[in-house]
């Protein structure tokens, strides 16, 4: 395990009115790790993601990125600091092509202002952005559909495009919210290999939420398990699988049904 800390979460709590969605969650993710956050539906996983990416302001607790306090920063600021994400309910730019979706995510690394961009004084930068987008699409295997409307792609490819778009912001940490949802078993297996591949290629740290247990157990270095917003276990896949609390709270429910429901 590498020692450099990427994400450090301290006593994070989120309340919506009377409901406690996330309760005193603390975690650490180190450079180069793949860490999964699992738990039954409604356990507060996406809420945790939304706090890390700045969509929600946590009620209590702190979030550090590379030791820098990012609690309560805006989503775009956090993305600029190197945290990218995908969405559980796919949120692609529906009017744009695959290529434009990925290209648009480069906007935040621009050096031009609106005048120089409008009057085409930034052609070198624009050219570079486009070239990098081409390369990235080749890398993830979406080159052949790059001029298609993003929303016309099959579901699995849309999920892939979400990842490609997130990568285009040049993150150090990528948050994947149920990347395998809606994928068939073969696609899911390929996704596992793909996540490892991009992790190495782009020197990423990966933080994911996933319901496909095979995938989680296959690729994760460590797993956090939460239930009712509270952490109930943490450890390697093997440790988590044998943890009685987890079995009781989570794996104890019929896992087959859980997966069938998802697929």
């Amino acid at each position: 395990m590498s020692t450099e800390n990427v994400l450090h979460i301290e006593h994070l709590t989120m309340r919506f009115g009377g409901v406690v969605a996330v309760n005193d969650l603390s975690m650490d993710i180190n450079q180069g790790e793949i860490v999964a956050l699992i738990g039954p539906n409604g356990a507060g996983k996406t809420t945790a993601f939304n706090m890390v990416t700045g969509v929600y302001q946590p009620t209590e607790g702190k979030i550090f990125l590379h030791g820098q306090d990012i609690t309560g920063r805006r989503p775009d600021e956090i993305t600029k600091l190197g945290v990218a994400r995908t969405f559980q309910n796919i949120r692609l730019f529906s009017s744009m092509t695959v290529f434009e979706n990925v290209l648009t995510a480069r906007h935040l690394r621009r050096t031009s202002n609106f005048l120089s961009a409008t009057f085409r004084l930034n052609t070198a930068e624009e050219k570079k952005m486009r070239q990098e987008t081409e390369d990235l699409l080749k890398e993830v295997g979406l080159s052949d559909v790059k001029d298609e409307k993003a929303t016309s792609l099959p579901y699995g490819k849309q999920r892939l495009l979400e990842i490609a778009r997130a990568l285009s912001t040049q993150p150090k940490l990528i948050l994947l919210d149920e990347p395998a949802a809606g994928m068939n078993p073969q696609e899911t297996e390929e996704l596992g290999a793909f996540i490892r591949q991009i992790k190495d290629k782009f020197h990423l740290t990966v933080f994911l939420i996933e319901h496909h247990m095979n995938l989680v157990m296959d690729i994760s270095d460590r797993i956090y398990v939460i239930d009712f917003g509270k952490q109930i276990a943490e450890g390697t896949p093997a440790e988590v699988q044998n943890n009685p609390a987890v079995i009781a709270a989570y794996l104890g429910v019929d896992e087959e049904d859980e997966e069938a429901g998802k697929a």
Binding site: T53, V55, R74, P75, D76, E77, T79, K80, A84, R85, F87, R91, L92, F93, S94, S95, M96, T97, F99, E100, L103, T104, A105, R106, H107, L108, R110, S112, F114, A117, T118, F119, R120, N122, E126, M129, R130, E134, D147, R165, A166, S168, T169
Partner: protein, 373 residues
């Protein structure tokens, strides 16, 4: 226009450029050969003005997804800025007769004043945007509409009369007719009173198109498609919305200046909410999210309301049969019905989100497909 990375020279863009140039050439020739009193020129001048304003509104409503209804207010600022700074110093004592000639005692060249008109509108947009742009869709619409009404009241305020001439009109400033080139005896040698507004509108719309197809334009479209995703991709919502709002208002201001030139007089009370509605309907008819559509529908709208449907307002007798219902105002009724049909059944408008080059492209594509088969 945008997503072409493969080839440098896109034939579709080339054809579009040719079409646009032909239109300009036709306008120039028409102006030299047809009597200047023809309705055609009224339509072309007003159409060019409305095209610019409609495209500026489309930049907000169509490309950024901000439903603003403040356009008339920004046009008012532009029109007044233009009028105030271009009335010849010698005329001021007549125009500002109730205010001792006003306090502005110099005049600027028309193009400087026009630029200033845009900048002034953009500056007001910046101030107004601070509270308004934080609001959600319909609240934003009503708040921006409210601001336009406030601006209208402020410009009519007697205490500002030394600048704005209060509720009295501004006139005697340069108009489109002053673009005509005259010889020493005052006879027009070259008619430019339609071509110049076409060029002004064309350049402005060209700049908007360049913006839309730049990286900033993509960011704006991203905000329109999905604010949350756009923000997650590092696009700062507040600054980009403000940018779109100010740029849109800048061009609405320039459009207001053009309207002032077209009308030859300006009065704050005419920049009503109804004017904004009219421009919005033009945008809808053309296609929300299509610059080409906004331009086309501006000319259509103006042509129908000023020219082609005029006969509906007069008694018409065919043989001995007098067509019923035709009298003053019927034109607007027919017009409203057409608009409602478009709004209800042809929500895509004329162009949908397509642009001029797309028309050539689809043609090209179809041919290719036909060959393939």
């Amino acid at each position: 226009m945008n997503n072409t990375t493969k080839k440098k020279a896109d034939p579709a863009i080339f054809f579009s450029a040719v079409v646009v140039l032909c239109i300009y050439a036709a306008v120039f020739i028409a102006e030299q050969t047809i009597a200047p009193t023809s309705m055609l020129f009224t339509v072309l001048k007003k159409g060019a003005t409305y095209a610019l304003v409609a495209v500026s509104m489309n930049l907000l409503n169509g490309f950024t997804g901000i439903f603003s209804l403040g356009q008339a207010g920004f046009m008012l600022i532009g029109a007044y800025t233009f009028g105030i700074f271009t009335i010849p110093a010698a005329q001021r004592i007549n125009v500002y007769q109730y205010y001792n000639g006003g306090i502005v005692q110099f005049s600027l060249p028309w193009f400087v004043a026009m630029l200033l008109a845009g900048l002034m509108a953009a500056f007001f947009a910046f101030l107004i945007g601070l509270p308004v742009l934080r609001l959600k869709s319909d609240y934003l619409a009503i708040a921006s509409l409210g601001f336009a009404e406030i601006i209208r009241a402020v410009f009519q305020w007697d205490k500002l009369g030394v600048i704005t001439n209060g509720s009295n009109m501004l006139n005697n400033y340069p108009t489109f007719n002053d673009f005509n080139i005259r010889n020493a005896s005052g006879k027009v040698t070259v008619y430019l009173s339609t071509l110049v507004p076409f060029i002004i509108a064309g350049v402005c719309i060209g700049v908007i198109i360049l913006l839309i197809n730049s990286t900033y334009g993509r960011a704006l479209k991203a905000i329109r498609d999905d604010e949350i995703a756009a923000e997650a991709m590092g696009i700062r919502l507040a600054s980009h919305k403000r940018l779109a709002f100010c740029i849109s208002s800048f061009f609405a201001g320039v459009g207001g200046a053009m309207l002032a030139m077209y009308q030859t007089t300006v009065q704050a009370k005419s920049f009503t909410t109804a004017m904004t509605y009219e421009i919005l309907l033009i945008v809808v008819i053309g296609g929300i999210g299509s610059v080409t559509g906004s331009c086309l529908s501006s000319f259509l709208f103006v042509a129908c309301s000023e020219w082609w449907l005029r006969f509906l307002d007069q008694k018409q007798v065919i043989g001995t049969f007098q067509v019923p219902m035709l009298r003053n105002g019927f034109r607007l009724v027919v017009f409203s019905v057409i608009i409602m049909i478009v709004v209800l059944f042809f929500r895509q408008g004329i162009m949908g989100t397509k642009e001029l080059p797309d028309l050539f492209r689809s043609q090209h594509k179809k041919e290719k497909e036909a060959q393939g088969k």
